[in-house]
C-alpha cells in the first residue's frame, strides 16, 4: 500500500514543497493541506514543514498553533496517527503543547544554516526504526530558534522514557542535553530542528534523511500489513 502524507501549509511556511518532493521520491502520496481548513483528509502521516508560519511574529509557532487545522492535527495524534514537525513544525508542536519544551534563540544569536551530525539515541520508534542505535546521521539545520529548553523535571522524564530520539554530536545552538529531536510519550508525535528532507540525495550532500523519513513510511506500510 502507498503511505498517504499530508503536509500542512501555514501562511509563511516555506519548506512544504521540499517536504513534498522528499516524501514523493520515497513513494508516498502527498497532499498539501491549507491551514485554514477545519477538516483533515485521510492521511497516515501529518507533516508540519519548516518555514516561518505567520512570519514567526511574536514567537516562533505562537500564532500558527491557533490555526483551525491544528485541532484536527491534535485529533489525528490522539487517534494514534503519526505527526512529524520539522524545524518550524517542531516549534509549532511545542507551542501547541503536543511536544514538551520550547525553542529559544540560538546561543550564538545567529541564524545557522549548516550540516550537523545527529546521533540516534533511540532507534525503537517509528521515526528511527531504519537506524542503528547510536548511528550518526548527517543532516542540515536551518534555524535561529533551535535552542530547546524544558524544565529539569521534564527533561528527566523525557530521558527516562527514552523520548530524546536525536541528539547533536556537536551542539550548535545551546539546546538542553543536546536535544535535536524528541517524541511524545505515545511515540507517534515527533519533532526535530534539523531538516531530513534536505538530506535525501547524495548530490545535495547526504541521503541520511531517508533513514528518518523512510522509517515513518515503513511504519505506515507495516501497520497496514498487520491490519490487513
Amino acid at each position: 500500500m502507498t503511505a498517504r502524507v499530508g503536509v500542512i501549509v501555514f501562511p509563511g511556511s516555506n519548506c512544504e514543497l521540499d517536504a513534498r518532493v522528499a516524501f514523493s521520491a520515497l513513494g508516498a502520496e502527498v497532499e498539501m493541506i491549507w491551514h485554514a481548513g477545519t477538516s483533515l483528509p485521510e492521511v497516515d502521516l501529518v507533516v508540519l514543514p519548516g518555514g516561518f508560519a505567520h512570519g514567526d511574529y511574536l514567537r516562533t509557532g505562537a500564532l500558527a498553533r491557533f490555526s483551525p487545522v491544528m485541532d484536527r492535527v491534535r485529533d489525528h495524534a490522539l487517534r494514534g496517527g503519526l505527526v512529524l514537525g520539522i524545524c518550524n513544525g517542531f516549534q509549532i508542536l511545542c507551542e501547541a503543547g503536543m511536544l514538551p519544551g520550547a525553542l529559544r534563540k540560538n546561543n550564538g544569536l545567529k541564524f545557522l544554516c549548516r550540516w550537523v551530525d545527529l546521533r540516534v539515541d533511540n532507534n525503537d520508534t517509528a521515526f528511527t526504526s531504519r537506524a542503528e542505535q547510536g548511528q550518526v546521521l548527517r543532516i542540515p539545520i536551518n534555524h535561529f530558534e533551535g535552542n530547546w529548553y524544558a524544565e529539569p523535571a521534564v527533561v528527566d522524564r523525557l530521558r527516562e522514557n527514552n523520548q530524546i530520539v536525536l541528539r547533536y554530536v556537536d551542539n550548535p545552538n545551546g539546546s538542553v542535553d543536546d536535544v535535536a529531536g524528541i517524541c511524545n510519550e505515545s511515540r507517534n508525535v515527533f519533532g526535530l530542528m534539523p531538516h531530513p528532507e534536505r538530506a535525501c540525495e547524495q548530490l545535495l550532500g547526504s541521503d541520511d534523511g531517508i533513514v528518518l523519513l523512510g522509517s515513518l513510511l515503513d511504519h505506515v506500510t507495516d501497520r497496514a500489513g498487520v491490519a490487513g
Partner: protein, 732 residues
C-alpha cells in the same frame, strides 16, 4: 499652484527640468504632479545620465527571450526552460539603516522577478564595506547580513553566493547589491496596461509614509552629514507578506487572469501606473481614495510616491476581478481595485475632491531628461598607473601567504553565508564557498550556474580593463563549475555623475563590459545603475558588479573547487604573467599599495579556457576545477585544499617565486584529476589551445609549496577564523 518657487529643487528636480515639465504640460504642475515627476525623473528611475551609454551594450542572442527594460531579463537555459535574472542595489538605504535597508533590497529584487511571472529560486548578495577594523563597519556588516538573512530566509529563497569586499572607499558608502534568479513556471507576464476598461488592482501591504521620496532623496543625491535628517525615508520590510505575495503572484500567473503585472519599487505607485500605460499606449485613471492606507491622514502626494514595500499592481479584465481578489484573499493579502485602464494616454489621479494629477504617461515614464554629461579622464590617473604596483618581494614567503590567506578579503565568508538558508528548494548542488553556485532547477536535470564579481580596485586603476576583467572573472567562475556562460545582469555602482571624471569612469566601464560581453558571447539582459555613491565629496571606486548566468544541462556534471582524492594530479591551466600585480590582493595586503595597471586580459585566451573547462566537466575529466583570482595560484591552491579537507604537494621552477605564486593573471584555472587522466587532459588542453602545466599532486595534511609549507590545521584556522576574528576585534 506651486507655492514656494524652489519646491522642485527640494524634490531633486533642476530648474531646467521644471521648465521641461511646464512645457510638456502647457501649464504649471500641481503639487501631486510635481511629486510624481520628481520620482519618475530621478536618476534612479529615469537613467538620465546613464541611458546614452547603456545603449551601446549588446543585448541579443537567440536564447534571450526578454532583454533590458522589463522587470528582469529572461534567458532560455534549455529548450522550454527559462529563467529570470536581475540585480539591484540598495546602497544608501543600507547605510542609513543596515538591517532594513538590506532586507528591503532583497524584497525589491524578488518582486522584480515576480513581476515576470517567475518563481524566485536563488539570491546572491555582493556586498562592499569600509575596512573591517573600523567598528562602524562591523556594525554595518552585522546589520546588513542579518537583514538579508532575516528577509531571504523567511521568504524561502536560498541565498547561494555573493561577495564581501573591504576597501577604504566604501567606508562612508557601503554597497549592498542583490541578484535574484527566478524560474518561469508557466507563462511570462508583462508590465503593460492593455485594454481600455480593464481594472487596476493594488495587491499587498498597505501604503504608509515609509520611503517617501526614497528614489529622489536617497538614491539620487550625494550624502552629506545632514543626511541623517532624511530618516523618515526608512522602509521596513515584512518578509511574511512577501512570502504570501510570492505564492499569490505565482497562482495569479498560472491562472491566466492577469493582463499586465508590475511591482511597486522606487517611485511607488507612480512608477507602474505610468510605465504600464506608456508601454501599452493606453492611459490609467487611479482613484487614490481606494488605496489601502496604513496611516489615515496621508496626503495624496505621499500616497503617490510612498515606497511602502510588498506591493504589486495588476491589470485585470473586469470579468476576472472577483477571481483575482479571491486568490488574494486566499493568501490572506489585501487587494483593492484602485483604478481603470483608459485610452487617454494620460495618468489621471483622482479622489473625492476631484482631479489631483493629469499627466501624459509618456512624459513621466519615457520622456524623462536624457543627459549627455561631460566626460573627462581623471587627471590623477596617469600618475597612479605609472606608480610602482606593489610587487616587491615579501621578507618571508610563508608569512606573506598566511597574511593573504587570513585577510578579510580572502578568508572564508562562512560567518556570513551560514546565516543564510542556502539549501531550500533542494537544488543547491553547489552553494556558497565555491566559484559559482550551481542551482538545479526544480523538477529538472538542468542547472543554472551563477556568479557575481566586481573587482573595484582593477576598475579604479583602469575602468575599461577592470570592467573587462569583471566580466571575464564572472564567466570563468561559471565555466569552472562546468556551466556555459550565457548572459549577464549588471549593477553599476558609481560616484556623482555630474562630475566629469566619474562620468568618464562610467563610460569606460560600460565600454569594457560591452566589449567583453561581445567577445565572450554573453549579452546583457538588464541591470541597475546606482550613482551618487559619494559621501562628503569622496567617491567610491567605480564598481561594476557582474552577475553571470550560465547553463549546465546535467547538474550531476558540475565540478566543485574542492580537491577530492590524495594522489590526484594538480595542473595549472593558462599563462602566468609575473607582472600582473596592479590592484592585486598581494600588492594591497602585503605591500599596502594600490597602483599601476590591472592585469592584462586576452579575451580569446579567456574564451579558450572556458571551453576547455566546460568540455572537461562534460566529459567528467576533472575531480576539481577552480579559477585563479584574488591571491593568485597560492591562494587558489589553498582554497581547493581547504574546501576538500586535503593538502597538496607542488613545486615550481620560477626564480621570483612570489611573482609566480601571487600574480593575478586572468584566464587561469587550477584543475585536479586522477593520475590516469593526465594524457586525456593534456590533449584536451592542446585541442583548445590552452597552456597546461602539471604542478604536483593532492596529498593529505600539508599545504606544501616546495620551498615552504604549512600544516593543514594551521591553514584552516587562519582561513576559517579570519573573518570572525577581524569582526570580533573591531567590535571590541
Amino acid at each position: 499652484m506651486i507655492s514656494p518657487a524652489t519646491l522642485h529643487r527640494d524634490l531633486g528636480l533642476t530648474d531646467d527640468e521644471l521648465d521641461a515639465i511646464k512645457t510638456r504640460l502647457g501649464r504649471d504642475p500641481s503639487y501631486t504632479e510635481l511629486a510624481m515627476f520628481s520620482v519618475m525623473w530621478s536618476e534612479h528611475c529615469s537613467y538620465k545620465s546613464s541611458r546614452i551609454h547603456l545603449r551601446g551594450l549588446p543585448s541579443e542572442a537567440p536564447y534571450i527571450l526578454v532583454g533590458p527594460g522589463e522587470g528582469a531579463g529572461i534567458v532560455e537555459l534549455a529548450p522550454g526552460v527559462s529563467v529570470a535574472w536581475k540585480i539591484e542595489s540598495h546602497n544608501h538605504p543600507s547605510f542609513v539603516e543596515p538591517f532594513n535597508g538590506a532586507a528591503t533590497g532583497v524584497g525589491g529584487i524578488v518582486r522584480d522577478i515576480l513581476s515576470m511571472g517567475a518563481r524566485p529560486i536563488a539570491l546572491m548578495d555582493p556586498l562592499r564595506f569600509g575596512p573591517l577594523d573600523d567598528p562602524r563597519t562591523a556594525y554595518l556588516v552585522e546589520g546588513v547580513v542579518h537583514g538579508i538573512s532575516n528577509y531571504g530566509n523567511s521568504i524561502g529563497v536560498p541565498t547561494v553566493g555573493g561577495e564581501v569586499v573591504f576597501e577604504d572607499c566604501y567606508a562612508e558608502n557601503p554597497l549592498v547589491n542583490v541578484a535574484c534568479l527566478g524560474l518561469v513556471e508557466n507563462r511570462l507576464m508583462h508590465g503593460r496596461a492593455e485594454g481600455e476598461g480593464n481594472a487596476v488592482i493594488l495587491i499587498g501591504s498597505s501604503t504608509g509614509r515609509d520611503g517617501i521620496g526614497g528614489a529622489s532623496v536617497l538614491a539620487s543625491a550625494e550624502f552629506d552629514d545632514a543626511s541623517s535628517e532624511k530618516r523618515p525615508s526608512v522602509q521596513v520590510g515584512d518578509p511574511f507578506t512577501e512570502r504570501l505575495l510570492i505564492e499569490a503572484c505565482l497562482e495569479l500567473a498560472r491562472s491566466g487572469l492577469l493582463v499586465g503585472f508590475q511591482d511597486l519599487g522606487a517611485g511607488g505607485i507612480s512608477c507602474p501606473t505610468s510605465e504600464m500605460a506608456a508601454k501599452a499606449g493606453t492611459g490609467m485613471q487611479l482613484d487614490i481614495s481606494k488605496v489601502h492606507l496604513r496611516e489615515a491622514d496621508m496626503e495624496p502626494f505621499e500616497i503617490m510616491i510612498s515606497e511602502s514595500q510588498e506591493r504589486m499592481l495588476a491589470v485585470v479584465d473586469p470579468a476576472n476581478v472577483e477571481a483575482v481578489l479571491a486568490i488574494c484573499r486566499k493568501w490572506e493579502l489585501q487587494a483593492n481595485v484602485v483604478g481603470e485602464v483608459t485610452k487617454t494616454g494620460r495618468v489621471e489621479v483622482i479622489h473625492e475632491n476631484g482631479v489631483l494629477a493629469d499627466v501624459p504617461a509618456d512624459a513621466l515614464a519615457e520622456e524623462g531628461p536624457v543627459y549627455n554629461r561631460g566626460l573627462e579622464r581623471p587627471a590623477w590617473l596617469d600618475e597612479l598607473q605609472g606608480a610602482p604596483m606593489g610587487a616587491e618581494p615579501p621578507s618571508d614567503l610563508e608569512a606573506a601567504f598566511l597574511q593573504l590567506l587570513g585577510s578579510p578579503a580572502i578568508g572564508s565568508k562562512r560567518w556570513v553565508w551560514e546565516q543564510y538558508d542556502h539549501m531550500i528548494f533542494l537544488g543547491t548542488v553547489q552553494g556558497p564557498g565555491g566559484d559559482a553556485a550551481v542551482i538545479r532547477l526544480p523538477g529538472q536535470d538542468t542547472a543554472a550556474v551563477i556568479s557575481v564579481d566586481g573587482p573595484g580596485r582593477y576598475c579604479y586603476l583602469d575602468p575599461y580593463e577592470g570592467a573587462r576583467l569583471a566580466v571575464a572573472e564572472a564567466a570563468r567562475n561559471v565555466a569552472a563549475a562546468g556551466g556555459r556562460p550565457l548572459a549577464i545582469t549588471n549593477c553599476l555602482n558609481f560616484g556623482n555623475p555630474e562630475k566629469p571624471d566619474v562620468m568618464w569612469q562610467f563610460a569606460e566601464v560600460v565600454r569594457g563590459i560591452g566589449d567583453a560581453c561581445r567577445a565572450l558571447g554573453t549579452p546583457v539582459t538588464g541591470g541597475n545603475v546606482s550613482f551618487y555613491n559619494e559621501t562628503n565629496g569622496r567617491a567610491i571606486y567605480p564598481t561594476p558588479v557582474i552577475g553571470m548566468l550560465g547553463s549546465l544541462p546535467d547538474a550531476r556534471r558540475s565540478v566543485g573547487l574542492a580537491f577530492r582524492s590524495p594522489g590526484d594530479v594538480i595542473a595549472i591551466v593558462g599563462d602566468t604573467d609575473p607582472a600582473d600585480f596592479g590592484g592585486s590582493e598581494y600588492a594591497k595586503t602585503v605591500n599596502g599599495v594600490v597602483a599601476g595597471r590591472p592585469p592584462r586580459l586576452d579575451l580569446s585566451a579567456e574564451s579558450a579556457l572556458h571551453r576547455f573547462l566546460i568540455e572537461g566537466a562534460a566529459r567528467t575529466s576533472f575531480s576539481s576545477a577552480h579559477d585563479c583570482a584574488g591571491g593568485g595560484i597560492a591562494i587558489g591552491l589553498a582554497e581547493s585544499a581547504l574546501a576538500g579537507g586535503l593538502g597538496f604537494q607542488v613545486a615550481f621552477e620560477q626564480d621570483e617565486r612570489h611573482r609566480f605564486l601571487f600574480s593575478e593573471s586572468p584566464s587561469r584555472a587550477i584543475v585536479s584529476f586522477p593520475a590516469q587522466g593526465v594524457e586525456a587532459v593534456r590533449k584536451l588542453a592542446d585541442d583548445y589551445g590552452v597552456p597546461l602545466e602539471i604542478a604536483g599532486s593532492v596529498a593529505p595534511d600539508r599545504l606544501d609549496f616546495g620551498t615552504f609549507g604549512v600544516g593543514f590545521d594551521v591553514a584552516q584556522d587562519v582561513f576559517e577564523g579570519a573573518f570572525r576574528r577581524a569582526l570580533a576585534a573591531s567590535m571590541s
